[in-house]
């Protein structure tokens, strides 16, 4: 799968940033405002990193602390098309950070074999849109390795990283959010960070977790999300959701970039509607943190789930079904889902496709007046 997207950018974009380019870039990523995280001082020394730099930092840490760890994929050797692996080959050698042939099923199968062979495999799929050729290896093989062998063999030491989500102009094959496909597969862990601090802690947790993990990186945040990230080696728990804003009237759940959309929605709802929203970042799609979500909905009685992926059979459907089953007596209104439409992800229509703050705010309004 050629990154046509990058190729086009190379040809069309001026090498020196022009005012027009800046305006375009701004327009393309204007569907959200980034809300940075902070860490307590007890986390020690921090450094200012964007998302791709924090991923790079996590990979650096993983390679430095585990001699068996290898990082591979298409174009990772020179630093990756999103710069996530920059400098790693120079530092750790070509046998630990290397390019593979252009073949996703091969990358996935190879990763499984590395893990079965007793080493740590950190595989990159260049865009989540191109993970489907590897679907068989991930779903039929990686996810079922431990179970089918009676725990004689496993590929728990593998992690797939893949850039996902809307980027402003990625169209059909540089914008997809495939988490729901994998959430239907027992044996996998699926994780999506919302920013650099989480990304480092979660990626290291995935790499060290003894189950195959898919780590989806919202690519629009690679450069736009900047935080003070702890320099030390740390992990953050999987299957643990974060309550980012506490509220009383309605629970808003999202993951990845969409978390920032909902944080803005919470602000707007407070100012315009006098509604107190509880904003939750689900963090891990599978196995997901039911307890945090159920407790929140039991408190607020209302719920909105938002994700970029299409609505039908999106992961929001699973959350909604589980919440209505568990919180039936607490619900004051139907659970609402604000998601991508059931169309492929379009190019010029992206502003009308995304579940932006206005669509989410409108849904909050509707739920509060139900």
């Amino acid at each position: 799968m050629l990154p046509h997207f990058m190729l086009v950018k190379r040809v069309l974009k001026p090498t020196v940033a022009s005012p027009l380019y800046n305006a375009l870039a701004k327009r393309c990523s204007s569907h959200f405002t980034y809300f940075p995280d902070t860490v307590p001082e007890s986390m020690g020394e921090t450094q200012r990193l964007n998302l791709f730099q924090s991923i790079n930092n996590a990979l650096d840490t993983a390679l430095a602390t585990d001699n068996t760890a290898v990082v591979f994929g298409e174009d990772v050797g020179f630093g990756g098309v999103f710069r996530c692996t920059i400098g790693l080959q120079d530092k750790f050698g070509k046998d630990r950070v290397f390019n593979t042939p252009l073949c996703e099923q091969g990358i996935a199968g190879f990763a499984i074999g590395v893990a079965v062979g007793g080493a740590t495999a950190i595989a990159e799929i260049q865009f989540a849109d191109y993970i489907f050729p590897a679907f068989d290896q991930i779903v039929n093989e990686a996810a079922k390795y431990r179970y089918r062998s009676g725990n004689i063999f496993n590929c728990g030491s593998l992690t797939f990283r893949a850039p996902c989500g809307a980027v402003g102009h990625g169209a059909l094959y540089h914008s997809q959010s495939p988490e729901a496909y994998f959430a239907h597969t027992p044996g996998l862990k699926v994780v999506v960070p919302r920013g650099p601090i989480k990304a480092k802690g979660l990626l290291l947790a995935c790499i060290r977790d003894q189950n195959p993990c898919i780590f989806l990186e919202p690519k629009v945040l690679y450069r736009s999300a900047v935080e003070m990230v702890p320099a030390k080696d740390y992990t953050m728990p999987l299957s643990s959701a974060d309550i980012l804003v506490e509220g009383e009237d309605i629970t808003l759940v999202a993951w990845g970039t969409q978390v920032h959309v909902l944080r803005e929605v919470a602000e707007l709802a407070r100012q315009q509607l006098n509604v107190s929203c509880e904003v939750i970042d689900l963090v891990t799609i599978l196995p997901w943190d039911t307890e945090t979500v159920f407790n929140s909905v039991k408190k607020t009685g209302r719920m909105l789930i938002a994700h970029e992926a299409p609505i039908t059979n999106g992961f929001g459907a699973e959350i909604a079904a589980a919440v209505q089953s568990e919180c039936f007596l607490h619900l004051e209104a139907p659970i609402e889902r604000v998601c991508g439409f059931d169309t492929p992800f379009p190019h010029i229509f992206e502003p009308f496709y995304l579940p932006d703050k206005w669509r989410c705010l409108s849904a909050v309004k509707k739920l509060m007046t139900y």
Partner: protein
């Protein structure tokens, strides 16, 4: 993303600079060139005009010469890759120099394991016909490929198989009880009864658990070989697959990755003429699977799969190449699938009984090895009869033991999905536990351990 686009341009220029520096024969850091030349493209054109470059093509994607003749490379350029053999069909060595000189003990053991596998196949096949196990796949006619290759490997070498390689486990001493336990999915099965019969696996025997999806094991074998290379453990990986499987995309991935990433892996193709009902004429149009090896940059050989010594020799040599040079080797063993594809298949629906009989009676790997052993004075009718009875008794006893055992606790259905049991699976387990308690009469709980 402006910085990314800028970097890409720099890289493009760098790549060009790299390509001419390579043709000029200089060892050259392209990054230096990138910094040193403001206009590397101009430099390239200047270089291209010099006459020395006219002589050979310098495309980065190939190493070859110019031609002014419009001539397509035809697939029938040559008469197929020859089939290496050591013994003729009567078990006589053709060239003494090729004799692996394994000695009586090893050769008799080879014969023992091939025939024990054959006996197990007959009994298990019948047991499926009687509905005692749900499924089975025999190894008839391919016993030589298993035993010959397994004997040439180190016991520590990792094996990835497809499903028709039970002889490799047999050679490594996987007990009959464990074969049976897996097929019955009983309490003794280390796979905990989760997979269909013949999906064997053993950590002690370095035999990765079989799975049904074809060819998925191939790129996995390459990954393990890469890990072994880095660990410098002196071991290699062998990956078995059928010629039908070689049509899967994963086969292509595996061949290409193994070559570019320089992995100590042996690809062992069992070309038995059929993928269920599909003959090789509908599987490929090239010179079998072996002819693809050189196209991927792999050392390749084709061998008579019914000649256990030939298989042994090529595997032994392949192991030496792959271990010492860290590069993949492809072996295509030509053989014939004498049995049905599986117990769910009646092969007379697509091939003649005469064809099968021909292979069974004239080229069988077991008969050929027996003829060799008889000629050496290592085997006779008495030994044959005694061993046959012994095999049957061993298999029947293991069979009876396996059949008597309970299935594992049904609760094992919920374990090992993840290393630890997540809450949602624990909830489902507890729900089922309560349900089975209430509706016990409607479930076969008596056949399962507590």
């Amino acid at each position: 993303m402006a910085a990314s686009a800028r970097f890409s341009w720099c890289l493009l220029a760098g790549a060009r600079a790299r390509s001419w520096s390579a043709t000029s024969g200089a060892t050259h850091d392209w990054r230096v060139t990138r910094a040193g030349h403001r206009h590397p493209v101009t430099a390239l054109i200047t270089r291209a005009l010099s006459s020395s470059l006219e002589e050979q093509p310098n495309f980065p994607g190939s190493r070859s010469k110019w031609t002014e003749k419009l001539d397509f490379v035809q697939p029938d350029l040559y008469d197929g890759i020859p089939v290496y053999r050591v013994m003729d069909r009567k078990g006589q060595l053709i060239d003494e120099a090729s004799d692996p000189k394994l000695g009586e003990e090893v050769v008799v053991r080879m014969y023992h394991r091939m025939t024990l596998l054959n006996t197990m196949d007959r009994i298990m096949y019948e047991s499926q016909r009687q509905g005692r196990i749900s499924f089975y796949m025999t190894n008839y006619g391919e016993e030589g490929t298993h035993i010959g290759s397994a004997a040439a490997l180190d016991e520590g070498d990792l094996v990835y198989g497809q499903y028709r390689e039970a002889g490799v486990l047999m050679w490594r001493g996987f007990p009959l009880d464990r074969f049976m336990n897996q097929c019955y999915g009983n309490e003794g099965d280390k796979g905990k009864g989760r997979q269909m019969p013949v999906h064997y696996g053993s950590h002690e025997h370095n035999f990765v658990t079989i799975s049904s999806p074809l060819a998925t094991q191939m790129p996995q074998a390459v990954g393990s070989a890469y890990a072994y290379k880095r660990a410098q453990n002196g071991k290699c990986v062998i990956c078995y697959f059928g010629e039908g499987t070689s049509s899967e995309g994963d086969a292509h991935a595996a061949f290409n990755f193994s070559a570019t990433l320089e992995c100590p892996v042996i690809f062992f193709c069992r070309n038995n003429g059929y993928a269920i009902s599909t003959p090789t004429s509908e599987q490929y149009r090239g010179d079998g699977v072996a002819a693809r090896g050189p196209a991927y940059g792999m050392a390749t050989i084709r061998v008579d799969g019914n000649d256990v010594f030939a298989v042994y020799n090529v595997t032994k040599a392949a192991r030496h190449i792959t271990i010492t040079e860290n590069r993949p080797v492809l072996i295509e063993a030509m053989t014939y699938r004498i049995g049905h594809h599986s117990t769910s298949d009646d092969s007379s629906a697509y091939r003649s009984v005469d064809e099968v009989r021909h292979w069974d009676s004239t080229q069988h790997p077991i008969a050929r090895l027996r003829a060799y052993m008889t000629a050496q004075g290592w085997w006779d009718e008495t030994k044959e009869k005694q061993w046959k009875d012994d095999c049957k008794r061993q298999v029947m006893q293991a069979f009876a033991r396996a059949e008597r055992r309970l299935k594992p606790s049904w609760k094992e259905m919920f374990t090992d999905v993840y290393k630890e049991m997540p809450n949602h699976i624990r909830d489902q387990y507890e729900y089922m536990n309560a349900h089975v308690e209430e509706y016990e009469d409607h479930y076969p709980v008596k056949n399962f351990a507590k």
